[in-house]
Amino acid sequence: MLGYIARRLVQMVGVVLISAVATYALLNLAPGGPMTGLRQQQQGRNRITAADIARIRAYYELDLYLPVRFSRWLIGHPRGPITVGGTEWFANTPIGCRQPIEKNVRNEKGKIETKVVGCNENVYLRDLEGRKVSRGILLGDFGASWKLLRDRPVSDLIMSRLPKTIELIGLSTLLSLLLGIPLGIYSAVKQYSRFDYIFTSLAFLGSAMPTFFFGILMILVFSILPKSAGLPYLPPGSASAVREYVVPLIGTIQPDTIADRLMHLVLPVITLTIVSVASWSRFIRASMLEVLRQDYVRTARAKGLKEKLVILKHALRNALIPFVTIVVFSIPSLFGGAIITETIFSWPGMGRLYFLALGDSDFPVAMAILFITAVLTVIATLIRDLVYTLIDPRIRYS
């Protein structure tokens, strides 16, 4: 077992490294980086000098060769010459180019392209000394944001949004479990009943309903329409109000009080909950029906167990086994947030942060969120496999 876990951990590191490379590749392919527009400015009146460009290039580390840049991004090294016993090594190894020689070349289509053909001035390893460097994303340092909070660490942004997402997703996950599991069980046990019929129809509608449309309908029905009709209403967006507001029959609500926050929480939580209850309970129902057909359930009945015990002790335990996967894989979304719901309700969480980062081409922020989500997914996979060894005696790893 320990050997298995160790092997899995090594595999995980591999997957994380691959994800890191993929993330970095995307990050570098991403258009709209910090250098965008600089070239255009070169032609304008406020011509920026070659020295300016070199400075900016150094600031974003674009003057370093890709492997060096990647290594500094990943683990925060190299930071300068390696000192062993008082002597510096590799101090004069070129690791980048401060001033590339650019040439305009006509390509096969006849367009003029700017190509780098050589280097005027190299960057050497010794030059890295004293340069600002991140600790590397593997240690949780994702560098600085490009746009949303210019030059501030990405982690600051994330940490300011994370609690809000955990609050929203945590609450709705909990509610979905509390509602989805019993509903699914009950519907399966009462198969062909009127309840089952109504429930499956509603769950079908719910799981076919696109979240973004559902969210808008919720705002319409519980916020806009009752407000204009003078009825009690719920705030349509954001996590708290800016100034006090009056809700009919409920009274005046001061901004940022518990009441205010609860009011703002209701709509996004309900939206997320209904969507996942619809699909989770369908899953539980299907899984339960499958188990109820099994021979051992018949045995339990033939043994003289009361139906309640047959369901809760013999059937449910087996029906929940595949459901574990779904629950475990909601861990990454606890971090990544719900992009659509958070966007519709302007909920200041991770999902909306990701949305805003993409819209503003703030790729370090977007990549950090994506990377952490991928890592959490890998961790969730391991957790799932370990949980299975605990709950399903048929599964043993060695």
Binding site: L26, T377, A380, T381
Partner: protein, 330 residues
């Protein structure tokens, strides 16, 4: 001897076997909601197919001053009716909805076709040849199936759209896509990119399905027989595996239709899909958000068709599953 003849004549009393596709259709017809959905989708496809003939206005025909007309308003000058009213620029919502439907449905349909082809091919190769190829492919598929798909979909389409002019797409493809979606060639580029993103991330489940089917078929006698007769891998896959795996692939495709309609709408809604002024249900819905305080009915106009399509394709998939493989019925 006489008794033997008799026993054969006795057998003739039993009903003849139906052809499998007739049987499927007979079972499908029993699923009322699936039949209704099929009808609704046929009507929607026909409407969008004749978009030019049916839509009373051009896509971006702007009537100055006629902003936010109520549904059913009549243009005073010409007497033409805005069935669903106009938007903030005075464009006819009904016409835009039809053109948008043409785009949304075409994107979904092409994505389904492409992703099914990719999925079936990769799944078949993976399952048939096995070994490290299979291992690697399926690890990749599993990984991508476990990480949340929306963030990846968003970031890739955001990057592709920002870089769209740098991505080489053959001219004839763009022209073809443009014809299919009634778009100009330079506009078609966006739609093609979205199709590529959707299909590029959407083939995973069909690959898994196909692989499973191939694995279960690989050791069956007719495949062994074909092998013994010297048939090659490609022949066996094309002639024996794919026809036998059609049932789950078709079900998967119809459910994917629903997913792609919603995914395309979600991308456009969030602003990382097809952009204004090209109409799609998603970006029309997004645009209504700003005005729903005063005109609460506005979001329903583009929202309902999305929901309807999603629901209809889900029901059709459900009905097909019941009809093709009763064992899968839940």
């Amino acid at each position: 001897m006489a008794a033997q003849v008799d026993s054969i004549s006795l057998l003739n009393d039993y009903p003849k076997e139906e052809s499998p596709w007739r049987l499927v259709f007979r079972r499908f017809r029993k699923h009322k909601l699936a039949m209704i959905s099929l009808g609704v989708m046929l009507v929607l496809f026909l409407i969008t197919l004749f978009a030019r003939q049916i839509a009373p206005f051009e896509v971006d025909e702007i009537t100055v001053g006629n902003y936010f007309l109520k549904p059913g308003s009549v243009q005073e000058a010409t007497g033409r009716v805005h069935l669903l009213g106009t938007d903030n620029l005075g464009r006819d919502l009904f016409s835009r909805l039809i053109y948008a439907g043409r785009i949304s449905l075409t994107v979904a349909l092409l994505s389904v076709v492409i992703s099914s082809i990719i999925g079936v091919t990769i799944g078949a190769i993976s399952g048939y040849y096995g070994g490290w190829v299979d291992n690697l492919l399926m690890r990749i598929v599993e990984f991508f199936l476990t990480i949340p798909s929306l963030p990846i979909l968003l970031i890739i389409s955001a990057m592709l759209l920002k870089n769209q002019d740098a991505i080489p797409i053959p001219q004839f493809l763009l022209e073809l896509a443009g014809k299919l979606m009634l778009l100009e060639v330079r506009e078609a580029r966006q739609a093609v990119l979205i199709i590529l993103v959707l299909a590029g991330l959407g083939w995973l489940t069909s690959a898994q399905l196909m692989r499973g089917m191939v694995l279960s078929l690989r050791n069956q006698t007719f495949v062994e027989a074909a092998k013994a007769m010297g048939a090659g891998g490609a022949w066996i896959i094309l002639r024996h595996m794919i026809p036998n795996a059609m049932a789950p692939i078709i079900v998967d495709a119809s459910l994917n239709m629903a997913n792609y309609v919603v995914a395309e709408a979600a991308l456009s809604f969030l602003g990382f899909g097809i952009q204004e002024p090209i109409p799609t249900w998603g970006n029309m819905l997004s645009a209504t958000q700003a005005y729903m305080l005063d005109m609460p009915w506005l979001p329903l106009i583009p929202g309902l068709p999305i929901f309807l399509c999603s629901l209809a394709f889900n029901y059709i998939g459900d009905g097909l599953r019941d009809a093709l493989d009763p064992r899968l019925k839940l």
